[in-house]
């Protein structure tokens, strides 16, 4: 064995076997894969190849891949298009919410319509974070996204609350009001409608699993629930004030 020859071998990233490069790529975030891909022609070819992007795409959207086999595009382009589509979908929901709100309040029917749009587009948790956990957007879209994570993605509790804190929306507050008819008494008099009001921060909403609140948001106006209104706002007014107003 010639010592000099051995010592002169320099290990560079591009000299590594492809299976090791793939291993490293599989541990990188999309952003980092793209950064590496912009470094040189070699990494451009490697990082933007289908062997790298197929797992990225199918890990992020497991339900999606079977429908995409037909397209003669690279997996990176498919990934980009899917991301763009979700971004547009989130933006359209945001616009819809803005248009449907009156005096900062939204009726639950419109809330549920927006919820369905998100659900139909099959947002994943990463997509939700990217497009709907932003502190500068409508707080009701934040609420919708948190609710979607709990009800559809099954992400709740401390995990979710931690993510909300990281995204800086945990403290944002919403107000949900709902009115119930209690029916008639035994003497045939109509009883007074019962009204409920909940001010809650998104962080608490994620942790508390408040069944009555989740119930009215999920079902909307059905059975005894006459009306549900969701409003945004940063300062909770005292409860008594709310009751006097009505």
């Amino acid at each position: 064995m010639c010592k000099d020859k051995v010592v002169s071998i320099i290990t560079t990233l591009s000299s590594l076997p492809e299976d090791i490069l793939l291993k490293i790529a599989s541990l990188l975030q999309v952003r980092d894969v793209c950064a590496l891909g912009c470094c040189s022609n070699f990494f451009n070819q490697f990082c933007f190849s289908d062997c790298v992007w197929y797992p990225i795409l199918t890990n992020r959207w497991p339900l999606l891949h079977s429908s995409l086999f037909l397209y003669p595009k690279t997996w990176k382009i498919l990934y980009f298009e899917r991301l763009t589509e979700l971004g547009l979908r989130a933006a359209s929901v945001d616009t819809f919410l803005k248009a449907s709100m009156h005096l900062q309040s939204l009726e639950v029917g419109d809330y549920l319509k927006a919820f369905e749009t998100i659900h139909a587009a099959r947002f994943g948790f990463e997509d939700v974070q990217r497009f709907m956990f932003k502190p500068q957007i409508n707080v009701i879209l934040n609420l919708l996204a948190v609710h979607y994570c709990m009800a559809i993605l099954g992400i709740r509790g401390e995990n979710l609350a931690e993510t909300l804190r990281t995204c800086e929306i945990s403290h944002r507050q919403v107000c949900v009001k709902w009115w119930k008819v209690l029916g008639r008494t035994a003497y045939g008099y109509r009883r007074r409608d019962e009204s409920h009001i909940r001010w809650i921060s998104l962080g608490d909403f994620a942790i508390e699993d408040d069944e009555p609140l989740l119930g009215v948001l999920r079902r909307g106006t059905i059975h005894e629930v006459l009306r549900v209104q969701i409003s945004s706002g940063h300062h909770p007014r005292p409860l008594s004030f709310e009751f006097i107003q009505r």
Partner: protein
Amino acid sequence: MAAEKSSIKIITLIAADGSVFEVEPNIVKEMKTVQSYIDELDQNTVSIPLPNVFGNDLAMIIEYCKKHASEEETKEAKEEFDFEFVKRMKSDDKLRLLQAASYLNMESFLQFMAKAIAAEIENQSVEFVRDYFQIESDFTPEEEAELRKENEWAFK
């Protein structure tokens, strides 16, 4: 077969530069390349040449294996060790160890090193990645500008 294996007391590993390491059998268990070699032999002492691994790297790998094979060490102590282990390395050290891990077929060490490398470039700029891995750009300025534009979405 079992009797043969337990009869081996000391394993000698010879690195590419000729340096010699004597290790106990439990240390090399993780090195599947070495282990399969031992399994086929019927001797008390084994000496194995590893022409693709340098002495310095082999010393580090053995240090890592000793720490992780030890039953006395707590999980926290091992994590602390892992942290310090990669902290003192430069990028080419990591790449060499990664290559050695692949040659020795050490699954968990390979995963550990690959993770350490991935962590280094997490959330970094193209310039940083180039500098870190000493990659020479072979793009024309126009090609580079176009590529950056094409991938802008990923950096938002």
